[in-house]
């Protein structure tokens, strides 16, 4: 074999290896980078204090992340309860009950909608959900609200998660062998009984994973939530009051963080917190999916 071909092979292999290693080291790099910036804050405050305290006074050097974690959890849980049942039944209809043609039309549409940027969902939220909450929903429940609320954040997140979750659920339902469904139907089960006992049971790990990944996506979503959630520091049970989720905190304060000591550290700590939580959720649920794909 001539030398130049060997040399090309060598160089390109090094390039390929380099690319792959760089890619695989991204999570570690992110963790190190964020930790490096968050370290000054962690040196002055204990981890438990940061997580559990509700006192957020950056000027006085008090950084309690509880209100932000609470808001994040609130909108995420809300969006989950709004979108998960809808997606589950929609996926059942599209794959089991509906015509094949409908699914063929819907798949590309869902794909395209999953690609719509979150800022566009945010615009929609400001135009539709925020006024709806302040003009109709809140008065209906006998309270008043500016509309910029946890509820609006939850609804916008739910809509954003729909294409994402639906796509995964449809894929899960497609992996269930047709023979199994036919066996159930031939024993006299109705279609719904087949769905209940075969599809839901057999697809259980996949369904749980789709839900889990949907939650992770909602938890980390920034711009769309930031636009409708009100961004006010408040721990309140009412969905009509404004909230301030973690990603919104980071995005909102990047401009002024240099002037207050430890403030930039605190924001980096928030990013680190988000990163770790979401990475763990992702690793956990992806593990399910990979196990089912391999078997």
């Amino acid at each position: 074999m001539n030398r130049s071909r060997r040399l090309t092979d060598l160089i390109v292999t090094i390039w390929m290896r380099g690319g792959l290693y760089l890619l695989l080291s991204i999570p570690a790099l992110i963790a190190i980078g964020l930790y490096w910036k968050a370290a000054p804050l962690l040196a002055n405050h204990s981890f438990a204090e940061l997580i559990l305290s509700a006192k957020w006074f950056p000027m006085k050097g008090e950084f309690g992340f509880m209100p932000f974690i609470y808001s994040s959890a609130y909108v995420t849980v809300l969006s989950f309860f709004l979108s998960a049942p809808l997606c589950l039944f929609a996926a059942v209809y599209l794959t089991q009950f509906g015509k094949k043609r409908l699914l063929n039309v819907m798949l590309p549409v869902i794909d395209i909608l999953a690609g719509i940027p979150s800022v566009v969902y945010g615009v929609w939220g400001v135009l539709v959900i925020v006024p709806a909450v302040s003009d109709y929903v809140a008065p209906f429940f006998g309270t008043s609200s500016s509309g910029y609320s946890l509820l609006a954040g939850g609804v916008v997140l739910a809509v954003m998660c729909i294409p994402y979750m639906l796509n995964m659920l449809i894929e899960v339902f497609h992996t269930i062998p047709v023979g199994m469904k036919e066996a159930s139907l031939s024993l006299g089960a109705t279609h719904w009984e087949m769905v209940k006992h075969v599809i839901f049971k057999k697809g259980f790990p996949g369904i749980i994973s789709a839900f889990g990944l949907g939650i992770a996506k909602a938890f980390g979503e920034t711009i769309a939530v930031l636009m409708v959630v009100g961004n006010t520091l408040d721990i309140s049970v009412s969905p009509f009051s404004p909230g301030y989720p973690l990603p919104a905190l980071i995005a909102n304060n990047y401009g002024e963080m240099m002037s207050i000591p430890d403030y930039d550290s605190a924001l980096m700590f928030a990013a680190l917190l988000l990163f770790v939580i979401i990475l763990v959720i992702n690793l956990f649920f992806r593990y399910f999916i990979h196990k089912t794909e391999q078997s």
Partner: protein, 284 residues
């Protein structure tokens, strides 16, 4: 007993029917609202002019800075992502073809990486910027967005590469080609349709992302002419203008949202058409 069974069947059929069609209705409603509100505000001035003096108080001008800026940023990020991602994807499918466990672990990690929110990439990009003493600039934005979209590009391309039969590689090796030649001349060619799809998917994701460029790209009313200048992007243009109290400025946010949505739709549709077109020459 028998009766309840059929009633239950009917109830759940109706529920799932309603669920499916309300999902479709919600998503169509979303597109309708965005277009309905934005089309009226859209004009040639908005697309073709830079912001003029007093623009943010309702004065003359347009969002050309953000359109061009977004375009520069995403093209740069996509090029960088291809530079890192293309060889990585080929490496997984050529050099590691006999190591199923390693392959699966890598895919698992990349999938998990796909789920990391863009604000985290943004914060990380900011930390990197500080480390190297960079300012918010086109370069910092490109690097951050490239980190965000590379896992997407690699996994999307890899999904296609992994369907290529091993025999094809074996045939190539048996003719005496090196692994590099096999990767570039056989695998890359076979997976070209998938590559185009992955490329456009990554590009679309890059052009639409706001949270990652918030810290790293900055914002400007001009079109950047070098890598160390700040850059405006469409999602941020929408975001900033929408929070303005002045109605004219908000109108431009709606218009910008339509422009961005049209970009994304064009990218998605052309990804589909191109991948169909290029998959004609594939050996099956």
């Amino acid at each position: 007993m028998r009766k309840w069974k059929t009633i239950e069947e009917q109830i759940f059929k109706v529920i799932s029917f309603l669920a499916a069609y309300s999902v479709i209705a919600i998503l169509l409603f979303l597109l309708f609202v965005v277009f309905n509100k934005g089309i009226g505000a859209l004009s040639w001035d908005t697309i073709l002019k830079l912001p003029k003096g007093g623009y943010y108080f309702g004065g003359e001008g347009g969002i050309l800075n953000a359109i061009i800026g977004s375009f520069y940023l995403s093209v740069g990020a996509t090029v960088l992502a291809v530079f890192i991602g293309l060889p990585a994807a080929l490496f997984i499918n050529v050099q590691l073809i006999r190591m199923k466990r390693v392959q699966n672990t890598i895919r698992y990690l990349l999938d998990a990486l796909w789920g990391i929110p863009s604000i985290v990439y943004g914060a990380f990009g900011f930390a990197v910027m500080l480390f190297f003493g960079l300012n918010a600039s086109l370069l910092a934005g490109i690097i951050t967005v490239a980190l965000l979209i590379t896992p997407i590009l690699v996994r999307a391309f890899d999904e296609v590469l992994k369907t290529i039969p091993v025999e094809l590689q074996e045939a190539s090796f048996s003719l005496g080609s090196t692994r590099t030649e096999t990767a570039l001349k056989v695998l890359f060619k076979q997976g070209f349709a998938g590559f185009i799809t992955a490329l456009l998917l990554a590009f679309g994701r890059g052009i639409g992302d706001a949270a990652s460029v918030l810290f790293t790209g900055g914002y400007t009313d001009n079109i950047p002419i070098s890598l160390d200048e700040p850059v405006a992007t469409l999602p941020l243009a929408i975001f900033f203008q929408l929070s303005s109290p002045i109605e004219e400025v908000r109108q431009r946010a709606y218009a910008a949202a339509v422009v961005l949505t049209i970009f994304i739709l064009v990218i998605s549709v052309s990804a589909r058409l191109l991948s169909k077109r290029y998959s004609r020459n594939i050996i099956k």
